[in-house]
Symmetry: C2
């Protein structure tokens, strides 16, 4: 890498061209991203045209925009011709209006129509992921004809390994892999060989569900149909791998009280990170007013028993941890399609039993800890009554926390919200208030 | 599904066979899992043999063990013959020793040798994922010979779409796709067409890194080589999709203070859930002793200023949220390979600036909240000194929390630990103690 940068700076273009020829388009894209527009375009022009277009498709949107700014109209037209339809639609979605207009102007009218069609599908839907460049077959073709058809038209297809069989009205009636074609006799017909139990998704399907279908059925491509089972396009597994990474990142960001972004961390600006993080921090901080009010309400009890304060952080953290264990388990199970809303009573039943086990164990352990560690070793002199109050609170808090933690993501899903938001930070804020109420409630009734 | 269960109960085997023939092997596996051993084996015997073996490979380990228990030796032998090598090795890894012994006894000796070889690779390494059933080509083959070779040997291969070219000493020297073969002239040679810039991984590579290579280069299969670049086997993209789901689930479980498991939630027993959750809960509860001690140490200050207690939960939660935002961001970036340990100073610099922005915003917002909401609206009568103390504490806590949150995962990675453990619960426990020390420190110096 260092060496390549040096070659660029020393303008050794001949040597550079040789080195670039040995590189993979993905790595070339990585290299282009490290240069500014002027230098990047020099590199770009040293590449064979198809490699250049392929490398362009792997650039991040910022680098794509920069490069488009310095490309000639002809160069841009060539890139657009080579891009697959789904990549072209993604590109236009990311570009500012002015750039998108220029890009579309350099695109072949037929392609432009398809791209505009793809752009109409909602973001994150199967429709927004599909490409129209698939191998279409007819049931009355022979194996030989099908293979010849693939040979003739295969160059521009996203994958040639699965052929999609449609009838006259474009209804999807079967799929046939190149593997089956190669292993069959030349005279057999596509109709006799094709798999008619076709797994497909609707254009409106969410991309997370699309990823689940790929994972469940071990597919390399999945056909997308409209509401009348007409074949619109296909989604390929390489896009699904990217989606899975992106969905996971988004879920984790939401679970940690951040607004999701798909920009890599080191390339995200400080103010963007700030904007991503501050909204939930503010909201959660203000909602802690409730815990403050609860404490103020019990101020008299507290001033006569300051010893109670020492256990507050432990109680709140334990409650928060228990709640986030349950919520993260349910959030992940929802994302994998293992749990649905109708399982809510099974989930509650399970969490109730787990929380009883956890609660009793933690209460007993804490009682022993107070007697042995706090009193004997550290000499903190915690009274037996306080110890009992703390342990009873643990038991109640754990149960409540696990129940809140497991139900909120399910309810969120039911209401059409993203369950991932119902993770640790949100649960903690609720559980804090509840555990303090329980704590002071038990304490005042015991110490009265 | 309901209908199929009824057919089994009414022993309508003819109708059942018809229905099963229309189903996909993955869905048949799902159906088999809902039955007990006796009924499952009846269904299993109604299936065509290859479908039966394929469905078997999709069963979860518990169902596989149950079914093996009721299969005859001959049936078991047939299943093992049909399983691909990586699935066979996975099966043996999951089965108890007695069952594994019986399975191996019914396996062809040549296969047994390969399986034993695969079982030697460490769990979660590329070696443990690979299968030896790939298409091997030689550089001097013509396109026609290569296609004929694939036709003859393709039936048992995991994928036929990529051929791997090796020299006499089994060194991997090139790859060639069926797409390229189909689009080329019959007389061209494999050597002239093959891609020599081969992307491969070592047998010792971690499965998370393997998934990253697939995501980066949009592959459908990846060759695995030993330390001398000899081709050992290949990993296919369908396995990678499963690994990505599994790795994500494990990461999220660790981030929520649970021991990882790959068993679906609704099929996990209560005691297993308990065992998965209680260790971290206990550890974190006991480590809260430190916060307890800090509070006890400032008991005198507290008893004269009980008002301070009311802000403790808010301060601890805000600190915890800030810390987990930073830690989750870094954990995810590490998992995606976007950030490495050597970036530690860039990360710290970025987080420092973000935390200053967040800290100042939160402190100012909190000051206004105390004046307007707490004092004016709720009439809690918070003194100006307390308000200043709280706001200064927020600023310090946010900065410390973000720094702790971003450095611990990096340090964990450097020490060979899993960074995912350094998420919210762990960070919160540390940040709690720090924020209380800061709070009481500032409070005593202001209120003295």
């Amino acid at each position: 890498m260092q060496e390549l940068i040096q070659l660029v700076e020393q303008k050794q273009y001949q040597a550079l061209r040789g080195r670039l020829n040995e590189m993979n388009a993905v790595d070339i894209a990585g290299l282009l991203e490290t240069f500014s527009g002027g230098q990047a375009v020099i590199l770009f022009r040293l590449l064979p045209k198809t490699t250049a277009a392929l490398a362009f498709s792997y650039l991040d949107p910022d680098a794509q925009e920069q490069l488009i700014g310095v490309l000639t109209d002809r160069e841009l037209g060539f890139v657009m011709e080579e891009l697959s339809m789904d990549d072209a639609a993604d590109l236009l979605e990311e570009m500012p209006a002015g750039v998108a207009k220029r890009v579309l102007a350099q695109t072949d009218p037929a392609d432009r129509r398809i791209i505009n069609q793809l752009l109409k599908y909602p973001e994150d839907s199967a429709g927004s992921l599909l490409t129209t460049e698939f191998v279409g077959l007819k049931a009355d073709m022979t194996v030989k004809e099908a293979l010849n058809h693939i040979r003739r038209s295969g160059l521009d297809k996203e994958t040639i390994y699965i052929g999609y069989v449609t009838d006259e009205a474009r209804h999807l009636i079967g799929v046939l892999s190149v593997r089956q074609l190669l292993l069959a006799e030349e005279r057999q017909t596509v109709g006799s060989l094709m798999e008619t139990r076709v797994i497909s998704v609707a254009t409106t399907e969410d991309q997370e569900a699309v990823a689940q279908v790929f994972a469940k059925y071990d597919l390399i491509a999945l056909p997308v149909v409209d509401s009348e089972n007409r074949l619109i396009g296909i989604i390929t597994v390489d896009d699904v791998v990217d989606i899975m990474q992106q969905e996971t990142t988004e879920d984790m960001q939401k679970m940690a009280a951040m607004l999701p972004t798909d920009r890599p961390y080191l390339r995200t600006g400080v103010t963007e990170l700030f904007r991503q993080r501050i909204p939930w921090l503010l909201l959660l901080m203000v909602s802690a007013t409730v815990t403050g009010m609860i404490i103020t309400g019990f101020e008299n009890a507290l001033s006569s028993m300051v010893a109670l304060v020492a256990f507050m952080p432990m109680l709140m953290d334990t409650g928060g941890n228990c709640g986030s264990q349950a919520s993260v388990t349910v959030i992940r199970s929802l994302a994998l399609g293992e749990v649905r809303f109708r399982d809510i009573f099974r989930v509650i039943g399970k969490e109730l039993r787990v929380s009883l086990l956890c609660g009793v164990t933690l209460a007993v352990a804490n009682f022993l800890k107070i007697l042995l560690l706090d009193n004997l070793l550290l000499g903190r002199g915690v009274s037996l009554t306080v110890a009992v109050v703390v342990c009873l609170t643990i038991l109640c808090t754990v149960i409540i926390a696990k129940l809140v933690g497991c139900t909120l993501p399910l309810l969120a899903k039911k209401c059409g919200l993203d369950p991932a938001v119902m993770a640790s930070p949100f649960i903690t804020t609720i559980v804090d208030a509840v555990s303090l109420l329980v704590y002071f409630g038990i304490a005042t009734s015991f110490l009265r």
